[in-house]
Symmetry: C2
Subunit: 615 residues, 2 copies
């Protein structure tokens, strides 16, 4: 396209943004209008993308980090012929694919859900990293960012990672329209302020008038010819550009234009330009679609092993069987044991340093490219990335997260290092799977099973060693459980998982010696839970005593309730969980202090048995 | 002290770090040894602190952001005479104040709990901001950071905030020992790499040999004489400095030295130097300790108002009555309505821009200085700061967090903007209070009540308006609930909160018309829950049907279980919650699609009543 056509295309994108928001009665047209010229030039001249084949491995990848500017995205889809005008005007309506913030669940051209600011660039870094290190094809990743969102630390985690990894296939386009939701940003139109920051993190930068289509065109060209560094294009723009009544004005964020018809007239009326987007180059998928079954590590019953060790060994074995498995870690691979994978498969290991948000974003990015990521750090530190996990679920992303050093059982390091909220956090994520194994063989099986599940899969591992209680050929279906002690006389059921399983077994033995037979269930699948087994135990024993190395809210105890959510009678439910703030102490002292060791369980069981007699 | 004495003091801190870790059998002596000279010079020459009066308003504030280097901190306490050698050797033992990672819960000289990396500098920024803008006294804030933790985006959120706020009372001392836990950091000993980054964010920087005590002394002096900018001192150090067998070596993170006696000998043996730390200058506390009771806004029953509006108005009124109340917001004050406070009390309003981690860290920092912060953003975006909230609980910090735009009820903006995991996340935090009001008068009362609670207090507000159902003089005790419909014939109880309260009331009316009388409880205090009322309802009606605009895990439904956790019989418990991934739609359509509107509740109630008849 020539200059005049590009200008016209930009105006069309503005008009269609205004029209979409007007039809919806809500949305962010002014945030779309500032970036319309940036989008027009990208679409017409630089993006290589086959809208008919969004899975094409050679396609460039575009991420709308400022997800609220969705009208612009959908206007661009229309200009590219991917959607028609009728669909454009379904924006934000019930059942429409064109949501307020775009998601890949509904639109095949969207790489990742955005709308929580500061996430598009981190995921874009993940995709670019996949391009460089895993796919090894030449696609480029274009991320359109807002200026407000550069206040998010996650953006600088991403900038640091991209600079360090020399991602010259990544271009961040920053729409510096100087206005956030509430008012001016910290740096207004000071492009240099942003450029200094990106440069410090090793990026090439270009400053440009974001409404000068020729200058924007040259800036993209400069980005494409830059080697060894990612490029940030800092574009000076005006929010609401093109309509005098709203241009560069405060107080108009997230609102349709006051008079859409007048605005459309001022923008020169509707147009119907079509863009022939460049075809992607030929490319192929590197990892095999078929994979062998993994030769998982095996432990003998009675051996002592930590589940974190089993995680590392099983993942390394899985990586041998499947060439689509990738491991990521937040600079604690010697603790999580991700290092076992790193040693065997260095090409498929991503060291994320201490940057948990970027680690999860990288996992989401490489999962979007068809890889199967396992990302690990301490369970406690996954809380750092909760917004990213939540948004990954909105994306429908399939990622594996592994949190080690769960619970008070870690001992001396104290509460800052103890994952005590992770089960609650992960259970509340839509469509998640939450697993908490108690021995090495169980861990290995679950690590392998996770790979083929949908959505967010979380595995919780423990620091200390424990006795292997299952044989290496035992199977552990997702949504299942194991009944470890059972008799027709059982007077209650102990429900445990992870480190509390051996404690519950010891308690069951002690109670049995006192003439109180109790059932023990290993509820390794915390979500989904094994409803049938829990219900049967409830009916047969009348009382469930849950024991968990986690806060009492949202963890194992609450999970048990899922089995009784359909209105059927609920048994007596008593929960043992961590109710105090631990300090430093040995693992054994911690379990005792929290009231979740064998003796505490025994005492609680004894009390419940007495009460039942009284009742 | 002269050069020789400073060198000796540094060696003493090393020896004591080695001794403490040896006595504990765990800990991080090598991470302590790298920073020993930095600490020695600070303690002896620059820190102004009265260990006998940690609450002295003129005290400088020291934050050990690399919290795992706690042996160094405790060795410094010993050198300052705050603890004795006997206590030093209780490090990491059960009951000791000297935890693996320091917390203010146990030690009066600790400003904030650390151990989750990348949090000390953000909280330090909050304290420095309090010094500049609220306390307006001349204390300085010194933060000792590790180099590994500079990979955390939160560090750059903090750097951005500090640069923008011109915090020249803040000094970040970065112990660049080049080694993280697992191995080398990204930038090794490249001090320039770090300096460029800090400079880009508006900081003054000084590069120094961290083992040259005179150079370190001059660097601190340069920091103190720098005006208008925070200073970062980038100190080149060696991990394990002073002991040949461990100095600058990989694989020794977080381990006691292999041979403590030999190491101590190599360091020149134990010493018993005492430091006379400089006295703080005279200073006074600015905010009044006593405060008037707030003239809260009032609404008439039947008026329509959004709880977010009530939040903003009530907070503004509270700010008039109490001069210790401070509001913070993540650049969405026009949405959360924190702007109402900002307009009336601009001196006590902190605009945090889109940086939720720093917002919470600032709240923790100013709370540490005696202020009462209320920090607001969309409920969904508080997930971004979960690690900070968790660590605030470890600190025992008293902060108020307010999440607006809760649930699917926001409508068209879609799932990225919907707080659907916030109740689960906040309930799992130790010692938290979780409140979810349904009308304006209730909101106002709860906003005022929050100020005087301990720990993390969370208030969930809604976007849309709803009818005021309570009079302005109604009281809402924390841990209470309101029974809104009740009769002796009730056949079940609807438990609702927030936006589901009016839906539950409408459902109760509809069911009543069908001859199914039901009770309705407004469970505005989600944690703690009103056990007595829930138990009574269970006994009298036999069935609880919970309805929440939240994921089914960890929210209102699970909270109800708390009332029955002591082993007493549980009623039938059925939960209605958000079980799908919403798209864009109107608020009414969203409630319907999620199955939590009046009609869905009515249908569920009808079904349960039939089942009860059958049963």
């Amino acid at each position: 396209m020539n200059t005049g056509e590009l200008v016209e295309l930009g105006q069309q994108l503005r008009v269609d943004s205004v029209r979409a928001a007007a039809a919806a009665g809500s949305g962010h047209p002014t945030s779309s209008m500032s970036a319309a010229d940036l989008m027009a030039v990208l679409l017409a001249h630089h993006l290589r993308y086959d809208f008919a084949r969004p899975a094409h491995p050679g396609n460039d990848r575009f991420v709308l980090s400022k997800g609220h500017a969705s009208p612009l995205l959908y206007a661009a889809y229309k200009a590219a012929g991917a959607i028609d005008d009728e669909e454009l005007l379904t924006f934000r309506k019930l059942g429409s694919r064109l949501e307020g913030h775009p998601t890949p669940q509904r639109l095949p051209w969207v790489e990742t859900a955005t709308g929580s600011l500061g996430q598009g660039l981190p995921v874009g870094v993940g995709i670019a990293l996949a391009g460089k290190r895993l796919d090894r094809t030449g696609y480029r990743v274009w991320v359109l960012c807002g200026d407000s969102e550069l206040a998010e630390g996650s953006v600088w985690e991403a900038a640091e990672a991209a600079g360090f990894e020399n991602l010259d296939n990544l271009v961040a386009i920053v729409d510096v329209n100087r206005l956030g939701q509430r008012g001016p940003t910290r740096h207004g139109h000071d492009l240099d302020a942003y450029a200094r920051r990106f440069q410090a993190f090793g990026w090439h930068t270009v400053e440009v008038d974001g409404h000068d289509v020729d200058a924007v065109d040259r800036a993209y060209g400069e980005a494409l010819s830059t080697r060894g560094q990612p490029t940030a294009i800092l574009a000076r723009t005006l929010k609401g550009k093109g309509v005098g009544g709203v241009e560069d004005r405060e107080g108009l964020h997230g609102k349709p234009l006051p008079d859409a018809d007048e605005a459309i007239a001022e923008l020169g009326g509707p147009r119907d330009l079509r863009v022939r987007v460049h075809e992607p180059p030929a490319a192929r998928v590197l990892h095999a679609v078929e994979s062998r079954s993994a030769e998982l590590p095996r432990w003998d019953k009675g051996e002592k092993a930590a589940t974190r060790d089993a995680y590392g060994k099983a993942l390394a074995a899985l990586g041998t069987a499947r060439d689509d498995v990738v491991a990521l870690d937040g600079e604690v691979g010697d603790s999580t044991r991700a290092e076992f994978f790193a040693k065997e498969h260095p090409d498929r290991y991503v060291e994320c340093y201490i940057a948990e948000q970027q680690m999860v974003a990288t996992a989401v990015g490489i999962a979007a490219r068809g890889w199967v990521p396992y990302a690990s750090t301490f369970a406690a530190f996954l809380t750092r990335a909760y917004d990213f996990v939540r948004m990954a679920a909105v994306s429908g992303s399939g990622i594996n997260l592994v949190g080690s050093h769960a619970g008070v059982a870690i001992g001396q390091d104290g509460p800052s290092q103890m994952g005590l909220e992770d089960l609650a956090m992960m259970r509340a994520v839509h469509g998640s799977t939450v697993l908490y194994p108690c021995d090495a063989n169980q861990t290995a099986r679950l690590v392998a099973a996770m790979a083929d599940l949908d959505g967010i899969r979380y595995l919780r591992t423990s620091r200390g060693g424990s006795e292997v209680i299952y044989g290496p050929d035992e199977e552990f279906p997702i949504g299942g459980s194991k009944v470890l002690r059972s008799s027709a006389q059982d007077r209650m059921t102990l429900v445990a998982a992870g480190v509390t399983v051996p404690e519950a077994l010891a308690a069951a033995d002690a109670l049995g010696r006192e003439g109180i037979p109790v059932r023990v269930i290993d509820l390794y699948s915390v979500k989904p839970v094994d409803r049938a087994t829990l219900r049967q135990a409830a009916e047969e024993t009348g009382c469930l005593l849950t024991v968990e190395d986690h806060r009492e809210e949202g963890g194992l105890g609450d999970a048990v309730l899922d089995a009784f959510g359909d209105g059927r009678p609920v048994p007596r439910l008593v929960r043992l969980a961590v109710r105090t703030m631990p300090g430093s102490a040995s693992p054994e002292e911690q379990l005792r202090a929290a009231g979740i060791d064998a003796e505490s369980i025994t005492a609680a069981g004894r009390l419940l048995a007495e009460e039942a007699v009284v009742a």
